[in-house]
């Protein structure tokens, strides 16, 4: 329990991508993460993949949470993943996706580097625990 590990704070970016205007879920998870002691950066609505990439790279977040309820995940998520790769941020960022993702689309997203997908009804604590356990080391 050194002074160094005490300073360790998990940083998250909660992102809304594309034309999806439903942000209640993103707000709720932002707040839950904050109350769990995380530092949360909320992107705001209607962000382009480029903005999410820029924010993830610059803020050096441990976790990128993408909230999508519009059904455009097959288009938007790959763009974000490719951008993260380009800037060398893919390997050490935990990417989670929340929202409405049909079962048949999930394997493909996971293959592209998404670490977990949380659908409707996932208990908040489950997501928080997942992040705590899997947040990459920032040595």
């Amino acid at each position: 329990m050194s002074a160094d590990s005490e300073q360790r704070t998990i940083r998250c970016l909660i992102a809304k991508v594309g034309l999806d205007g439903h942000d209640r879920g993103a707000h709720v998870i932002s707040r839950a993460f904050r109350d769990a002691g995380f530092e949360v950066i909320y992107s705001g609505l209607h962000r382009a993949p480029d903005e999410i990439i820029q924010a993830t790279v610059q803020e050096d977040v441990d976790v990128l949470g993408i909230s999508i309820l519009s059904g455009a995940h097959n288009t938007l998520v790959p763009k974000v993943m490719a951008g993260l790769e380009e800037y060398g941020a893919l390997d050490d960022t935990l990417v989670i996706v929340g929202g409405i993702i049909p079962e048949e689309d999930r394997p493909k997203l996971l293959e592209q580097g998404v670490d977990a997908i949380f659908g409707p009804g996932t208990p908040m604590q489950e997501t928080i625990d997942f992040v705590k356990e899997n947040a990459p080391e920032r040595a």
């Binding site: 002074a3 160094d4 300073q7 360790r8 704070t9 940083r11 932002s30 707040r31 993460f33 904050r34 109350d35 769990a36 002691g37 995380f38 530092e39 949360v40 950066i41 909320y42 992107s43 705001g44 382009a48 480029d50 903005e51 990439i53 820029q54 924010a55 790279v57 610059q58 803020e59 050096d60 800037y87 060398g88 941020a89 920032r138 040595a139």
Partner: protein, 355 residues
């Protein structure tokens, strides 16, 4: 973590790799092992950027103004770094860092490096972390660096003081805010900006600020008047010129400007005035003086936190603070005696050093 990894990180940062810059700031912010080596190595590469601090009460429009400033500098072909500091919860340590939302004019532009930082409840540590993060941006080669913070307490005031020029943002009709400013922040502003100047009451706020600035400068202002008053008998035109104060490059009178950050109105003038202040700092030698003061403060701050850590370790060695606290509550001893006791070995160590 080995020394080589740090050197590699610094090298990649100096090479202009965004991810390396981001990681360096993470290490600085979390004080992870080796961060000191990084800052030490970066130090030699700093000193080229101009650093502006922007503070003001929540909702004054800081983030929006920063966005527009960054856009202006980008249009001139300069690169920009932004550090936005937000408060964190004293209970959970969690924070929602929301300043990034307003950076709408610089979407996807990697040459605006925007970084959110939270206060993380470290006493005095925030200003150290901010100053070090500024160094990282500076060494990276950013031409302009902007520090943005909510101006609420000593901590935040310390943060903006790491900037060369401090801008205090005020909203119109904020009589109470201005009262608050009187107590602390008024003294640190080189420039006051009444944002949302299209709102009712803006001109009144401007007038109030101007009045307060004159009050703050009163002692010197009185002397000046006396001086010029005597001159006036000899040369009236000289006096007329002298009353337009800012002509003298060696004296800076805080300026009050008006902006509408959402539309970009007044940004040109703000940039101009910022440059004027920079010229004044250069010409008067205050830039160098500020750098010296800052370096001194950094040394003190580092020493304080290091000694603090030594003391914490010593406390732990002796069974932790709780045991002492219990004894104090039970009236077996008192806080002064405990402090004296814990400090004893340190004092012994240093006592011999005079010889």
């Amino acid at each position: 973590m080995s020394r080589a990894v740090e050197s590699d990180l610094v090298e990649r940062l100096l090479d202009g790799e965004h991810r390396a810059l981001a990681r360096a700031i993470t290490k600085i912010e979390s004080q992870s092992p080796g961060y000191r080596d990084i800052v030490s190595e970066l130090h030699a590469h700093t000193g080229d950027a101009s650093v502006v601090g922007i503070t003001g009460s929540p909702g004054a429009g800081k983030s929006t103004l920063v966005d527009k400033l960054a856009k202006y500098y980008r249009d001139q072909g300069e690169t920009v770094g932004v550090i936005a500091v937000d408060p964190s919860s004293p209970y959970t340590g969690g924070a929602v860092l929301g300043d990034r939302i307003r950076m709408a004019s610089n979407v996807g532009d990697m040459d605006v490096f925007f970084r959110s930082m939270s206060a993380r409840g470290q006493l005095g540590g925030l200003s150290t972390a901010t100053a070090d993060a500024v160094k990282a941006l500076d060494a990276f080669g950013k031409d302009r660096i902007i520090i943005e913070t909510v101006g609420a307490g000593q901590n935040e005031v310390d943060v903006v003081k790491t900037a060369d020029t401090v801008v205090v943002l005020v909203q119109p009709g904020s009589g109470d805010d201005v009262q608050m400013l009187k107590a602390g922040i008024l003294e640190i502003g080189d420039l006051f900006v009444v944002n949302k100047a299209d709102m009712e009451g803006a001109s009144r706020t401007v007038a109030e600020l101007q009045e307060m600035i004159h009050l703050r400068d009163d002692p010197r202002a009185n002397l000046d008047t006396g001086h010029h008053g005597a001159d006036a008998f000899d040369d009236e035109s000289a006096d007329a010129e002298a009353s337009d104060a800012p002509d003298d490059p060696l004296v800076w009178t805080p300026q009050v400007l008006e902006t509408v950050a959402t539309t970009g109105e007044g940004i040109d003038e703000l940039v101009e005035t910022l440059d004027e202040h920079r010229d004044y700092l250069d010409a008067s030698g205050e830039l160098a003086e500020k750098a010296r003061k800052r370096a001194g403060e950094e040394i003190r701050q580092l020493l304080r936190s290091d000694v603090n850590r030594l003391l914490e370790a010593e406390l732990d060695r002796r069974g932790g603070v709780d045991e002492f606290a219990e004894a104090v509550v039970e009236k077996e001893t008192d806080p002064y005696a405990v402090a004296e006791d814990v400090l004893e070995p340190f004092r012994e160590c240093l006592d011999g050093r005079d010889d």
